[in-house]
């Protein structure tokens, strides 16, 4: 099993860094370019959700990204310490809630499995599974 861990500050400018790094890892395990594109979107969404959730309440805490390559699948866990994000938002025009619905639609469609759950230590974690 190969494992790679990345931590970024909870700031939106770093989400692109994670997308690029994980796209590179995905190519290294032989995923097709179409699958790499799907993974980039899913990882970007999970990371953005963690960053947005943390921006207001805990911008100083990092977002952690954990890539685990197993014989027949890749498991990616993206966790942050921000507020739970499967809730209704109250931004301008209900932007938070609308964006979150689209984000979860994308996550569920683009990877083989996606679970979003509260972490015991606080915050949320998205667990994405891509079968090889």
């Amino acid at each position: 099993m190969t494992q790679v861990e990345i931590e970024i500050p909870s700031r939106s400018v770093f989400v692109g860094v994670v997308r690029l790094a994980l796209a590179s890892l995905a190519r290294s395990v032989g995923l097709s370019e179409e699958s790499v594109d799907d993974l980039k979107i899913a990882v970007g969404e999970a990371c953005a959700n963690a960053v947005i959730a943390a921006e207001e309440t805990s911008p100083e805490t990092p977002v952690s990204v954990n890539w685990k390559q197993e014989p027949e699948r890749v498991v990616i866990e993206i966790g942050g310490r921000g507020r739970p994000y499967a809730q209704d938002g109250d931004g301008p025009e209900g932007d938070f809630a609308a964006r979150m619905r689209m984000s979860l639609d994308l996550l569920e469609s683009l990877v083989d499995s996606c679970e979003v759950a509260a972490r015991p230590e606080g915050g949320m974690c998205a667990r994405l599974v891509i079968n090889l």
């Binding site: 989400v15 179409e34 979107i41 970007g44 947005i52 301008p92 689209m102 639609d105």
Partner: protein, 111 residues
Amino acid sequence: MELGIDVSKVDSHAVVTVAGEIDVYTAPKLREKLIELVSEGTYDVVVDLEKVDFLDSTGLGVLVGALKRVKAHDGSLALVCTQDKILKIFKITGLTKVFPIHSSVDEATAG
């Protein structure tokens, strides 16, 4: 990571050509430009996504917000997109039913 935004006029439409990655970091720049256009009285907008490499839900949210703003003035917001990887994002989120999506700027501004 840079987002390029150019605005040109075609007949009564503002054509907003976007290049690069529209994500949680860059989308606010696009939101500001679209709000600026509406506040200047431009209510028929075409957003050309042909040079966009990446689009996430934050970018979709910006486009939906802009659509609401132009519709409040009886305006329109159409998209130009032929890239499968970008179209896929609109399909998954059901937004192909919300936005008119055209294959060229000429087609989008013809109506």
